[in-house]
Amino acid sequence: MAQTAAELSYTPYHREKSAFTGIFSWIFSTDHKRIGILYMISVLTMFIGGLCLGLLIRLELIAPGATIMSAPTYNAVFTLHGVIMIFLFIIPGIPAIFGNFILPLQIGAEDVAFPRLNLLSWWLYISGAALLMLALFTGDKLPDTGWTFYAPYSTATEGNISLAVFAAFVLGFSSILTGLNFITTIHRMRAPGMTWFRMPLFTWGLYATAWIQVLATPVVGITLLLVILERGFGVGVFDPAIGGDPVLYQHLFWIYSHPAVYIMILPGMGVISDLLPAFTKRTIFGYKAIAFSTISIAVVGYMVWGHHMFTSGISGTAQVIFSFLTFLVAIPTGIKVFNWIASLYKGSIELRAPMLYTLSFIFLFSIGGVTGLVLGSLAVDMHVHDTYFVVGHFHYVMFGGLGIALFGALHYWFPKMFGKMYNEAVAIVAWAFIFVGFNVLYFPMFILGWNGMPRRYYDYLPEFQYWHVVSTVGSWILAFGIFTMFINLIRGIINGEKAGNNPWGASTLEWTTPSPPPLLNFIEPPHVTHGAYDFEEMNKGKKDSKKDSKKKKKGKK
């Protein structure tokens, strides 16, 4: 496609002049693309921090007894690993980075609905992260409650839990503002012709996610506030000595935190639904089924939180109902997985790096999902609750699901964000290390858990050591893969080859604008005439416009 005069002379967003200069033109920018990049830098920094803590945990567990740290330090390290990974990496992860950057491009908008609120939400994110770091150094000891902050331990321990919990509250507020912004953007700012069922499935994923962010986060907000009040004034709502019920804390916590795992995974599923058509060059199978299953996962996700509490002493009726509903969530999830696999049929599959991540997502997420059903069945859960089986399941779903989707998205939207290309061969090598390392790291956890190795334990019986060693070696392979991937991407930003507007031949709207996009995203206001994955219509449209321009030229001459 020949670039026209207008496209050659445009200013990409990162070169656009603004009222501020230098770093201030970024941290005070209300441009959704710059905010997306800000989020990318901060979220990935946090990810590397959490990753290092994870490596330390694995290193400690390579042998029974003390290896590299004391038991209290170990408690603090796994708490921090959890808090950083959950609140600072997975929950903001895809929505904040790619939602901000890509969503307005995908629906043909110039920006999000509330650009200043968007900037505020990034600042809240940074403040939350800073407060969390502050909490580490101000208490009598490090926070050691685990990322769940379960009462009554969290209301009694000496660490500066109040500040850590307040940090989580601030991060929740940031998440709410992002969600609120996205819902309004999707409702109000779609380009002409962009009907609900012409939206890319990534946008659908973000839409469902945004609703959960808005309607679940406040519940954990008030719960965390109550923990602070409990510590400050002894209100006693969760303190059995005064008359409270600590299990009620668990209810309130999981009322948010179970829907929150869908905040984590739905955008990842959206990414996969976008990447599959781009690398099979065919429309996605069952577009509407995927869109509706996204919504129904979000809805049913509100009714299953009790499966985190099967062994906490909830009533038998509650156990059975929550177990049943947990199985129900598997239906929309299964619909998605089958649709993805069906989308490969008769497609012209290109095994580029993003596609490899997509396929690994389907594989790893299916293992995570099916082990989730194992945990959801009441009787088995009694056996494996709070063992490494849960840790394995959780990492397969979250890291194998969301993490891998995020890596895929990083590669897929990289040329759009930076206008350059990474080295494909290195990317594939990095992917191979990540895929192998991932399975070597987390699969032994299922075996360990099934044999009775409890989670969060500092020490263990010698018979568990074999699989712990395997797992630790896996963590090194995985870390090497992730390191290679980041180096490759950074090298791509610095001196990668120039990428065209649409290097993948993908069909969604963000690929019709130059890479990197100009300040207001589109050189011509977009007008949408076909569905997101309608390759036939897309190519037809292209040919037509070419013919048109040729005709016009001839006419003028």
Partner: protein, 262 residues
Amino acid sequence: MSHTANIAAPAHIHKDYNGAKTGMWLFLFTEVLLFGGLFLIYAVYRTAHPHDFAEAAKELNVVLGALNTAVLLTSSLTMALAIACIHRGKKSLSLTFLGITILCAFAFMVIKYIEWESKISHGLYPGSEYLMLHYSKGQRMFFGLYYCMTGLHAAHVIIGATVLIVMFYVTYQRPNEKHRWDVFGKDELNGCRVAILDKDGNEKWGSEIDESVKQVHLKMKYYSMPKRIKHEDYVSLENSGLYWHIVDVIWIFLFPLMYLIG
């Protein structure tokens, strides 16, 4: 080759008022669910200890509670009237009503202070020795929740009053309709797009502009036009009003659940 240029102003100059309201409503939902968590805890403890709750509620002052309800309902009325006035272009009347709303917020806080003060001076506050010695577990939970719920509500009243004070200033600063002019300024032109009109009067955008175009001369005339104040210009006032009403709605539920169960 001579073409006429057309300027298309970027869309973000025209604010999406409906979008702003959508955003505000979504925010209100988060407020509802924030209190929803507390109402849920209240429901659980009250179901477990119905008699303790009824006993403990007798210690609250129904007259002051009812008075505060009336104060908040009145403030909601004046808030709605303030917006109704601005729709009709009556700025000073609107400011008067807004002022009354803010005064009502202060009155509410004063009455609340009197209530809390009398409870605390009797030793009735969370964690107090008096509460631990003389009251049952259910009653302690009632007072714990009383302070949490009315406290969080009072925090919202304070935030709401602050927002309304800012809105009072903003509305006060705004010129009356006859002084307002719509001028197309330099800032608004930033990011504008230029379309070329060909001989037949067809608009050409971006890539459609081909090599035949050598130069584009832009001549612009600015017309300043008198503009009416539309009620949409006050969407921030309306959104502050929405916030204020939700504070009222939460109190509508808090009042019977706290004061009237004895």
